[in-house]
């Protein structure tokens, strides 16, 4: 009987010691708590860089960080938020899937006191997120539009590949570009279709545009994945030397293609800078800061063959 009691006491002691050890290890690995990084899609290298950089910076600042992939689906995004709210995260670094559809998720987090910091893509609200760090897509595409006119000329047919239609970036880029090119009546847009920010879709759409409009002189793409897809379609059609391709993002493969003279230009968005800054904002919030600017427009720079040497690795060298 006495032996049984001793065994039981020893077991309790061991379990208690193991629990204490586990808690101490967890505390040592994440003394400040957990930060969630919710990314619209990990099917695009640009967003992978955005998510990984935000996660890495959060870990550097002393947090445990996890990336959640919304797969460009607001329902999946909502499920991610439910999971995050239930799991005791202290802040969310958020790349939304839909400017309107994502607001409800942000409000749910806000209701339980979890701050949300939007990165790159915005939500159409000024009282849901704590702060939104957004690429100034419009201004970047005004500059790309001016370069487009200079490169393609003031006359001729061209096409446009739009991104996801529910995303504000799609329209800010398109409107910035058109604020310039629409001023030149000789430039005629013969096709405007969504490639959903996706390389395979961009290729598919470009193939069909080329069949219907073989004389286009240029194509403006709402992101670099679609630009790479469009370029692939042009190579397959033997038109890569005739049609000027313009992208947007500053993805590494496009920056290399600009250096090689395959793609004319892109807009460098600095995803690493935005992701790092958002993680730092979350850290500042957790430490007590509350006065954040609601929307911060991060300038976009145009990358061309002339200045491509200054850019690489999703930013300035």
């Amino acid at each position: 009987m006495k032996t049984n009691w001793l065994k039981l006491a020893l077991a309790v002691l061991l379990v208690t010691a193991a629990m204490l050890f586990t808690q101490t290890s967890a505390a040592q690995s994440a003394p400040k708590g957990k930060i969630a990084v919710v990314v619209s899609t990990l099917n695009n290298p640009w967003f992978v860089v955005l998510g990984k950089t935000a996660k890495a910076r959060a870990i550097e600042l002393g947090y445990d960080a996890t990336i959640f992939d919304s797969q460009n689906d607001t329902a999946k995004e909502a499920a991610n938020f439910e999971n995050i709210i239930a799991s005791g995260y202290k802040a969310i670094l958020f790349n939304p899937t839909d400017a309107n559809g994502s607001i409800a998720n942000v409000l749910k987090a806000k209701a339980v006191g979890i701050p949300v910091f939007c990165i790159d893509r915005e939500i159409n609200s000024t009282n849901a997120a704590t702060a939104q760090m957004l690429s100034d897509s419009y201004s970047g595409c005004v500059k790309l539009g001016q370069l487009f006119v200079k490169t393609v000329g003031k006359e001729g047919e061209y096409a446009e590949l739009l991104g996801i239609v529910g995303d504000n970036n799609t329209w800010n880029r398109s409107k910035g570009f058109h604020s310039v090119v629409d001023r030149y009546p000789g430039l005629k847009m013969v096709a405007q279709q969504s490639g959903e920010f996706d390389r395979a879709k961009g290729l598919e759409v470009m193939e069909s545009i080329l069949q219907a409009h073989p004389n286009i002189k240029g194509v403006f793409c709402g992101n670099d994945s679609m630009a790479m897809g469009a370029y692939q379609a042009l190579v397959a059609a033997g038109k890569d030397k005739d049609v000027k391709v313009f992208g947007f993002d500053g993805a590494d493969d496009v920056v290399k293609s600009i250096a090689e003279g395959k793609i004319v230009a892109t807009g460098m968005q600095f995803p690493k800078k935005m992701a790092q800054q958002s993680a730092e904002f979350a850290d500042e919030y957790i430490k007590g800061k509350r006065d954040f600017a609601q929307k911060i427009a991060v300038p976009v720079e145009v990358v061309t063959k002339e200045n491509v040497g200054k850019y690489g690795d999703y930013g300035k060298k």
Partner: protein, 213 residues
């Protein structure tokens, strides 16, 4: 008795539905009008902003002669003293006014020397098609944080540029002659210092030229 109960139940249900209707019937015309009422009108906003905020702010412009002198000698000091930044990037803005002498006129620009005795183009008033956000972002009077949808904020730029093209440039282009004196106020965006500082490219808010003596 049963009929009375039914009557009371129907009256209660009807009363609740009247107080808290399950749906509203709205004509398509009314719905369209309501939607238009909440849609941001960038043109109207820009016109009001121009009259009520931008023009009254012109006395706060940096003096062109002092700014140009600093740009010539030390652009970094000029930037520190007179510019305002945008979002943490490399580009920045000047909100500037001054007077000078027209030294060249083309379809897209009026070149002005503001330094006494200078014959160099130190200011380039932009008179072609106006693009970009110099007027929206150059004064510090507007902030993206005030607009739930950035598309509205961006539409303001296009509307302000339209006002310049339609209300400022026609008179200016008609008056501007080489050798004439000119006074001006406007905003300059500097993206690339090598290309944008010498001369400083200014989108005019106000510009008046007098014939050469």
């Amino acid at each position: 008795m049963r009929a009375v109960r039914w009557f009371i139940a129907i009256v209660v249900i009807a009363g609740v539905c009247w107080l808290f209707p399950l749906f509203h019937v709205v004509t398509l015309k009314t719905a369209a009008a309501e939607k238009a009422a909440v849609t941001f009108n960038a043109t109207l906003f820009a016109e009001t902003f121009w009259t009520n905020q931008l023009v009254p702010a012109l006395p706060k412009c940096s003096p062109a002669e002092a700014l140009i002198a600093l740009i010539q000698t030390d652009p970094a000091v000029a930037k520190k003293k007179y510019s305002r930044g945008a979002g943490g990037g490399d580009s920045y803005f000047y909100f500037v006014s001054g007077a000078g002498k027209i030294i060249a006129v083309s379809d897209d620009e009026i070149s002005i020397a503001v330094t006494a005795g200078s014959t160099n183009a130190e200011i380039s008033l932009q008179t072609g098609l106006i693009f970009g956000n110099a007027l929206r972002d150059g004064t510090g009077l507007l902030s993206p944080s005030d607009y739930p949808n950035s598309q509205d904020y961006n539409d303001i730029s296009a509307a302000l540029n339209h006002i310049v093209e339609t209300s400022v440039l026609p008179n200016l282009k008609a008056q501007a002659k080489v050798g004439a004196k000119i006074s001006f106020a406007g905003c300059a965006e500097v993206d690339d210092e090598a290309a944008d500082l010498k001369p400083l490219k200014v989108v005019p808010v106000r510009a008046e030229s007098n014939p050469a003596p």
